[in-house]
């Protein structure tokens, strides 16, 4: 074992909150070590709805939460301006919905008061005919519709932008590094013992250890001999590899919950469920019942939904704070910061609960708690300091494309992930070669991710550059991608083949629940066509 490193703060968990805390503390001048047992954003953050929203649901419970949430969404939209995009919702109101059209519009009128805080537009109201003109896939049975605007973001890139900025300000960040134990001195936590991706064990001393492990918070608390109780809630999404509707659509499920079909840049997320979860957090399966629940809710307002071919599902577990009685998902995204000194465990702070849209505020308040413990005077700068790729305006995609001799389509996609940093990724003679045509992903971007963005396997490449995120789900690109990543990481030929095989095998877990009859037929066609082309 090597000599222990020394830091002001060690953060356990590289989801959006942990990455946000690492960034905040680094910007305040503290030395930080961030440890993530899998890949950054691979847990709850990556399984989100890809939304930065203001929380209109909270209007029924607490307007201050809406104000707080909206204002913080505004900060995120500002600091990540080049990687966020507007998501305009149409909310069709059906005859027996819990809220009639007047109540729904009233809620939107109230929400409009908060919308300027996050640079969003006000709602409009549409008749049934008008709603059908702008969104022809909707049912004719609706009474009318209202619109609402939120923001979309790729959570994988948002998490990684926070990690990148933390590292740029002196932090050290390691993915695929598992904390195996906490170092203690009497009752106090004084550091961590961890195992890196290559199997080496090391120790790091810290004045404060932050537990930002999301749904794994209780497990990490157990290492410290303390306790935070969660009520984990599972949420799944169905992923369609295309944009199904012009606008995002919100509707009611059979049990009155709000469902969303969110049209992102090139794909559609349909979700989400919200069920108590008691299983293994490292193996969250999607059930056919959950898929049916979502489809049933949606086909009422979008009758052709079952004709579209989903490509996979996502599943995540929310780190919901514990509360006994029926789960009111309206307020279940609350968060709390625990300083365990009150239980006799010094040097250990936990952040639990919350949601993607409020990650920056959660990180700021956690960093404040850490600074108080350390007697550090630095103030948070994360509300105004742009994230990497959002420091300056992007050049028009067509100009970037011409200069770097790539298609404008590839330039647009590159900018959507890297913002104004897109150009530096193209500083490579392989720039124009396309690895994944569905996205498209350029060979240069993939190689860059392997070299500079801690990609250690193909699933990491999926998160970093959207590899295999499109209609073919990897069938057409994974072998080539494995070659590119393997060359950068020094994999042998058999390691490259194994990596490709593992990726396809792993992705089946998320694909099987949504491959209906036509899905399986198309899958066979793809594989067959590829075999034909390659032979």
């Amino acid at each position: 074992m090597s000599q222990p490193s020394a830091h002001d703060v060690v953060i356990i968990g590289g989801g959006v909150t942990g990455a946000g805390v690492a960034r905040d503390l680094s910007l305040r001048g503290l030395s930080v070590l961030l440890l993530e047992k899998g890949d950054y954003g691979a847990g709850t953050s990556g399984a989100s709805s890809w939304m930065i929203h203001g929380g209109p649901r909270y209007l029924e419970f607490d307007w201050d939460t809406t104000r707080l949430s909206t204002r913080d969404a505004g900060y995120i939209v500002t600091i990540a301006r080049n990687i966020v995009y507007r998501v305009a919702f149409v909310i069709p109101v059906m005859p027996h919905d819990k809220n009639n059209i007047e109540r729904m519009e009233t809620a939107m009128e109230v929400y409009d008061r908060f919308q300027p805080l996050k640079k969003s537009h006000s709602h409009v109201r549409l008749t049934t005919e008008e709603a059908l003109e702008i969104e022809p896939g909707l049912t004719h049975d609706m009474v009318g519709a209202v619109t609402m605007e939120e923001w979309g973001v790729d959570p994988h890139r948002l998490v990684f932008a926070n990690v990148q900025d933390a590292v740029a300000h002196g932090a050290r960040a390691l993915n695929h590094t598992r904390v195996t134990d906490l170092l203690k001195d009497g009752g106090a936590v004084i550091g961590v013992r961890y195992r890196t991706a290559d199997g080496a064990t090391s120790e790091a001393r810290a004045r404060v250890v932050v537990n930002a492990a999301g749904p794994w918070v209780p497990e990490v608390c157990g290492l410290a001999g303390t306790r935070v109780e969660l009520r984990p809630a599972k949420g799944i999404h169905i992923v369609y590899p295309h944009r199904i509707s012009n606008f995002a659509i919100s509707c009611e499920s059979i049990d009155g919950r709000d469902l969303l079909m969110v049209s992102h840049a090139g794909f559609t997320l349909l979700g989400t469920t919200d069920d108590d979860f008691y299983g293994d957090l490292d193996s969250v399966d999607v059930l056919a019942d959950e898929v049916d629940y979502l489809l049933q809710g949606f086909e009422r307002v979008f009758p052709s939904i079952r004709r579209y071919r989903p490509v996979r599902t996502t599943a995540g577990v929310r780190p919901t704070l514990f509360k006994w009685r029926s789960n009111e998902d309206e307020l279940s995204r609350r968060y709390e910061i625990f300083d365990h000194a009150s239980e006799g465990v010094e040097g250990f702070v936990t952040i639990a609960g919350g949601k993607l849209s409020m990650y920056r505020l959660m990180a700021e308040q956690t960093a404040d708690a850490v600074c108080r413990k350390l007697g550090h005077q630095g103030r948070s700068a994360t509300a105004t300091q742009p994230l990497p790729g959002s420091e300056r305006d992007m050049e028009p995609a067509e100009e970037l494309a011409k200069r770097c001799r790539i298609t404008a389509l590839a330039a647009v996609k590159l900018q959507s992930r890297h913002g104004s940093d897109a150009e530096k990724i193209l500083d490579d003679d392989r720039a124009g070669r396309v690895v994944c045509r569905c996205e498209p992903t350029l060979e240069a971007e993939l190689a860059y991710a392997a070299r500079h963005e801690q990609v250690r396997g193909l699933p990491d490449a999926f998160r970093r550059v959207g590899l295999a995120a499109g209609p073919c789900a990897g069938a057409a690109c994974v072998i080539r991608a494995s070659e590119v990543v393997g060359r950068e990481l020094g994999w042998s030929a058999s390691q490259r083949l194994e990596a490709a095989r593992d990726f396809i095998r792993g992705s089946w877990l998320g694909r099987a629940p949504v491959l209906g009859q036509s899905g399986w037929a198309q899958e066979e066609l793809t594989q067959g066509a590829l075999r034909g082309l390659m032979s």
């Binding site: 209007l59 607490d62 409009v124 579209y308 996609k413 045509r437 793809t526």
Partner: protein, 131 residues
């Protein structure tokens, strides 16, 4: 307390809303909506396009169309038509990619194993790209 306060304020807002609906003339807001989101590239499909939408986005990216049209390996229509449709809101930024003469999309469509109507896709992509 927070909840009671919120419900009272919502009830007041509801009363104000109902009064406004009774007093003010109701005007269509559809054009306002379309103008608002034109800059973000949110252009509605027509009803006819929506009818064929499932088929149009059925591409499984097997690449056979590109082979049939003699354009394999090039990131243009028709071989990555599906990718351009996926781009959607920013198609205007990639208009140059899809300008100029089309290769033989009929032949490409004939080779498609899942029946994507490539001439229609090409027309839609160009319409959306043109703004």
């Amino acid at each position: 307390m927070g909840r009671a306060d919120s419900l009272v304020k919502l009830a007041w807002a509801y009363g104000v809303h109902q009064t406004k609906r009774r007093v003010a003339r109701v005007r269509s807001q559809k054009q306002l909506l379309l103008d608002t989101y034109a800059a973000d590239g949110l252009k509605p499909l027509t009803a006819a396009e929506q009818q064929r939408h499932v088929e149009m986005i059925g591409c499984i990216n097997c690449g056979l169309c590109a082979l049939a049209a003699g354009r394999i390996g090039r990131t243009r229509l028709p071989d990555v038509a599906a990718s351009y449709l996926r781009l959607y809101a920013r198609l205007g930024d990639a208009a140059e990619d899809v300008a100029g003469e089309l290769p033989d999309v009929e032949a490409a469509a004939a080779a498609c194993p899942v029946g994507v109507p490539l001439p229609e896709v090409a027309a839609l992509v160009r319409r959306l790209a043109a703004g």
